[in-house]
Structure formats: structure tokens, C-alpha cells
């Protein structure tokens, strides 16, 4: 065995994670929805846990007030809960915005006020605006966090519109 093969062997053995999955040790990539020319994939970027998400009625003409299903274990109390969305297309940032979901003076959803440790299953509307997605591939970073900026959920999503 020459030294080049030995080096290759060592390299393969020492990096098993890079051979199987494309993203190394991260959580698996899931499909949130597919159909109507639109595909949405996501991967949890919270090192502690994965979560489940599915979006009803996938279409490149996104309808108003979509219904989703969402399941997660809470790592924090969510008396106050905020969502940050960052949309990137072709390497440049398109939109950044922050939206309150649960606040002391306006708990918008019935799950507001749940405690650390509880599991949440939410099936219902998300109160979004309708829009038509132009063809292309988009990267979306979604983050749910509480008033101490502690992560409740984090998702790296890819939206492919063909």
C-alpha cells in the first residue's frame, strides 16, 4: 500500500460524517411541501433538536392565510415569542423582518403562554399575505425566540420555484 492510498484511507475513516450526508452532523432535511411548481425544504438549525413542519396547499401562487401543521418540544417558556425571517436570493439579502407572535398585551395564538418542556402541535392558519413567487431558488432563515433571545426554533429553509 503506497502512502497516497494510506492517506486516503485515513481521510475516509476520520471523516465518516462527510461521506454519508451532505450537511455533516446536522438534523435531516425535511420537505415541508411540494406541488404546484413550488418545493420547500427545511433543516433545523437548533443544535438541541429537530422539529416538524408541513404546509398545506403548496403552490407558486401562495394564498393568503395558509394552514400549516407544526410540532415541537419547547425549550423555553413562550409567554413572549417573536419570529425573525431573513430571505436571501442569489446570495444577496432581499427581506428581513421581525414579527411578534405572543406578547403580554396581545397573545395572538392559543398556544401562547405554554411552558418549557411542553410539546406543541399546532394545526391552523399563519395569517400570511398572498404572493406570487418568481422562478428561482431562495434561502430563508426562520428563527423563533423569546424575550431573552433564547432560541425556541430555528430553520434553514430552501424554496425552489420552477
Amino acid at each position: 500500500m503506497n502512502s497516497a492510498t494510506a492517506a486516503l484511507l485515513v481521510w475516509i475513516l476520520s471523516s465518516p460524517s462527510s461521506s454519508g450526508h451532505d450537511k455533516g452532523k446536522g438534523w435531516p432535511t425535511h420537505m415541508a411541501c411540494s406541488g404546484g411548481g413550488l418545493e420547500v425544504f427545511y433543516q433545523s438549525c437548533d443544535p438541541l433538536q429537530d422539529f416538524g413542519l408541513s404546509i398545506d396547499q403548496c403552490s407558486k401562487h401562495i394564498q393568503q392565510n395558509l394552514n400549516i401543521r407544526f410540532g415541537i418540544i419547547l425549550r423555553e417558556d413562550i409567554r413572549k415569542l417573536f419570529l425573525d425571517i431573513a430571505l436571501v436570493a442569489k446570495g444577496s439579502s432581499v427581506v428581513n423582518f421581525s414579527y411578534p407572535i405572543c406578547e403580554e398585551d396581545q397573545p395572538k395564538f392559543s398556544f401562547c403562554g405554554k411552558r418549557k418542556g411542553e410539546q406543541i402541535y399546532y394545526a391552523g392558519p399563519v395569517n400570511n399575505l398572498g404572493l406570487d413567487v418568481p422562478q428561482g431558488e431562495y434561502q430563508v432563515l426562520l428563527e423563533l425566540y423569546n424575550e431573552n433571545r433564547a432560541t425556541v426554533a430555528c430553520a434553514n429553509a430552501t424554496v425552489v420555484c420552477s
Partner: protein, 662 residues
Amino acid sequence: MAPDTGCFFLVALFSASCQVITSSDQMCIEKEANKTYNCENLGLSEIPGTLPNSTKCLEFSFNFLPTIQNTTFSRLVNLSFLDLTRCQIYWIHEDTFQSQHQLDTLVLTANPLIFVAETALNGPKALKHLFFIQTGISSLDFIPGHNLKHLESLHLGSNHISSIKLPKDFPAEKLKVLDFQNNAIHYLSTEDVGSLQLATDLNLNLCGNDITGIEPGAFKSTVFQSLNFGGTLKLLGIFQGLRNSTVESLWLGTFEDIDDGDELSSAMFEGLCEMSVESINLQKHHFLDISSNTFHCFTGLRELDLTATHLKELPAGIVGLRKLKKLVLSANKFENLCQISAANFPSLTHLSIKGNTKRLDLGTGCLEYLENLRELDLSHDDIETSDCCNLQLKNLSHLQNLNMSYNEPLGLRSEAFKECPQLELLDLAFTRLRVNAPQSPFQNLHLLKVLNLSHCFLDTSNQQLLNGLPALRHLNLQGNHFPNGNIQRTNLLQTLGSLEILILSLCDLSSIDQQAFLSLKTMSHVDLSQNKLTSSSIEALGHLKGLHLNLASNHISVIPANLLPILSQQSTINLRQNPLDCTCSNIYFIEWYKENLQKLEDEEDTLCANPPLLRGVRLSEVTLSCGITAVGIFLLIVVLLLFAVLVIFAVKYFLRWKYQHI
């Protein structure tokens, strides 16, 4: 040899950072020495041996304890707070907490409990807070009640409970909070409510239970601090059931994910005429049709919250709200402020209309009947006006707090708040202000104490901008820019003689004149973080003592010796994230730093940037030896001696050569 040094280095490293307790591969975080430890998410199946016996607060959630029994915690006799959230606990056996006499709070949220032994909770002398959220229980009998005489709060959310009835002999005398959120309770009988009789001033939470009926008279002559029926659709039944009760605060709001129930009508509120309520929340409901008669049973009410109730206007001549003190109309759809018909609420002291979903036009004198108004919140409303705010806030002569932050550009002229001379707090953050040069918009606000002008795009070259604020204590100018990044000797702060707190972070400042703050004599807190200041700007603080001084994220590298006395006379200093110099040219500061560690904040983030060898090292850990060392002196002497010998030989040779050629 090499591995040995490596081990030694590792040991030294761990002993240096004593905040971390190591136990093979798991580490609990010490939050307070010998008292508070966080062992979350470590997959532990027992209490680590490294935790001291004196531990008082233990956060142990997301570990693995299928069975807990009398040996599990026996060593930790001082425990007062124990969080066992989602530890996969199935069994709680006899006398589990027998030695925890001081246990005050026990969190068992999200454990799939199969059985809790009769004596499991014996031991604690005064257990006050108990969390049994999402433990799969369907009956309160599951919780052994005989050692709960001191219980103040019981959290039973997200279970399968269908009745609020407390078991016979369940001690409720001290109970203040009883939380049944998201259970399966659909009906409240007289017997159910009667079982709570012993508790006084109870806060009962039934949010997320679809209550469809209450037995008539069930709440007769009961007194509650608060009652929450959030998400309940049959409000008519609730109001009828609550007849003859007394409730301080009644929360009846609904949510976006709950299907619309009955639309609110005046007939629905009839029951209110026969009960006593101080405050009601009806968020996210739809009103069928608001007439002047809709609220006629609200006469005793002090606070009404109509957040996001899809309102476009309120009719004039509403009966029943003349005594109302606090009204929340946030997140509605008004187009003009006059559409709230403020004359309906002459006693109002607090009014909140924030986050209106349409651009809100303030109109003229729309609030002029609210003579008693003390607090007004008009933030996040897209308000835009070229001449604010005397016409808009006409006759609000008692107003103390005004929030107009997060709006569209406002044009302000001199004495823009003349109609509100009693203002004590004014928040205009993130609202662009248009003020023409010599104007003083805040003139004559003699009582104003707090002024937030962060990110207002101010014209800071206007020296008169902040004139007429003799009582101002707290000024936030974050995110405003100064000409050339410099605060000059004459500047807009000079008239603020009472200022105590000044925030100038993110102002893109690169220098401050030595005499810029000279007229500010009573300051206690100065925030200059996130600018481009160098150490020379510290001179501007020479006349101030006992400051909390934040200089984080600036361009400070060397602080010369003559500036150190200025730092010495302050009480707290933050120098985090500065490119600090750790060479001999900064030796005086480094020595001063190590002698004054008790004054320094965020010491763990105060690092060297130079020389490259010390980059990222904490300033407190740097040891420099500057000046001449022993080796240096020795070498110098040797060199001098050699030189002398050389000179002597040269002279000798020269003389010899000269004599030979005479």
C-alpha cells in the same frame, strides 16, 4: 514530556475557569457559587457527585430519570427550587423528597407520570409552587394532597382534566393561582366552583377549555382576583353563569387559530349588569354592530381592552363607559383618531391605540374631551404630519406620558408640545423628526424627565434643539449623527443642567471635545458604546465622578497615564470590544486595569488586540515586564566594557604609531 506538559496545561485551564464542574463528560454550569446550578440537556441519569450538598436551586430539565425515589436527591438537603422538566419520569416513589425540608418550587412539567406515591411529596415544610403541566393526568386525585397546606400555585395545564373540582380535603386556603390551561373542561357546576370556596382572591385560568355551559348560580357570591376564559366561544353562557359574582379581572379574548364564535352583541353582555367586574379583555372578537347601547352594562368597569376587535369606528353617545379609566384600542382599523369618539370616555386616564393596521390620521382636537388623560400610546401607527402636535393633542393639559415612537416623519416647530405642559416622559424613538434650524420643539416642558430620541435622524447641529428642558434627567440620542462625528465645545446638550443619564451609542462619533460636557454636572450614567472614539475623548469626562461609563465597541487602544485618574474616579467602566494595546506603550493602563478590576464590567470580553501574540487574551491575564531587565543590564555592561577596551587599544596603537614616526 510533551503529553505531560499538555495535560498540565489542560489541568491549569480547568482550574482557572472554576465556573465549570466536570464529571467525566457532563458539565453543569455554576450560576451562583455553591447555590445555583444548571444541568439542562446533559442526558444525566443521576445527580452528579460534583454538585455541592449546599445546592439550593437546581435546573435539571431534559435529563433522564425514569424513576425518582428517596435516594435520588437525599444528599441535596438545602434544595428550594427543583426543575425536573421533561426528565422522562414515570415513577415518583415513596418519600422521594423526604430530606428536602426547604423545597419551595417543584417543576414536573412534561413527564409521562404513571404513579405518584402517597408520601412522595412529604418532606418539604412549605411547598408553595407545584407544576404538573402536561403530565398526562386526568384527575386531581393523582396528586397526593395531604402535604400541600402551604400551596400557593398549582399548574395543571395541557392535561386531560375535565373538572375543576378539587378533591375532598384538598388544602386550598393559601391557593392564589390555579391554572387549568388547555384541558378538557366543558362545564362548571355549582359543586365544582364550591370546592374552591376556601381560596380567597384566586386567579383561575381556564384558557383553552371550550366552556359551553355554567350551571346558573354557580359563581354566586364568589370572589376572584382573575378569571380567564380565553378562546371560549359561548360568551353568552359565561356571562349568564357569572351572575352575582365579583371578579377583579376577566379575560375573555380569543385567538387567530380559533374559529369565530358568536359575534358580540349588547344582548350578550346583559349578564354583566348583575356582576361586579373591574377589568375586561375581549381581544380578537368581532362585534355584530356597536350601537350606543352595546356597553350599557359596563357602568362599573374601570378597564376595557378591545385589542384587534376589527373596529373601524365607535359611535357617539355610547352609554355605560363614562367612568372608564383605561381603554385599549390597539391593532384596530381606524382611519382618523376622531373615529374613536373620545367624548364617550370623559374619565379616561390611560388610552392606548398602538399598531393600528391603517395609517392613522390624528385630525384636530380629537381627544380634547379627555381632560384627565395621563398616558397616551400612539406608537406603530404610521402617523405622518408636517406640523405636530399642538392641534392634534389639544387640551390634554394633564398628559404625563406620551409615546409616539415608530411612526412616519413628524414635523415639529418651536413649542410643539405646548398643549401638554405636564409631560414627564416623551418617547419618539424611530420616528424621523423634521425640525428647522433655530426651532426648539421641546421648549417649556418644565417637568419632562425622560426623552427618548433614538434613531430620530435629528439635526444635531441645531444648538437650540433641546432648549427649555430644565428637569430632564434621562436623554437617549442613540443612532443620531453629529457633524463630522464630533461633539464640539458648544453643542445642543449644554442647556441640560439636570441630566443624569445620557445615551450616545451608535452615533458614529470619532471625537468629543474636552469641554463638551462641562455644563453637565450631575451625570451618573454615560453610554458612549458602539462609536469610533479613541482614548482622548475620555478627557471630556474629567469633571465627573462616580459614573457608570460604557465605552464598549470603540477604537480605544492606548490610554495614556494622564487619563487614568479620570477613569479612577468613576464607579463602573465597560471597555469590552476595543482594540486594546498590550505592549509596553500601554503599561500604565494595563497596571491600572489589574488594580481596578472591581470597577470593570464584562471583564471576560475585554481583550488585547495587539501585539499579535496576545490577541484575544484577557487584559486581566496579561503580565508585561517593561523597563530594563537583568539580562539587558548585563549585556549593556559587557558591551560598554568591550568598547572601553577597544578605545584603550586604539589610543595605545595611535600613540605608538605617532611616536614611531616622530
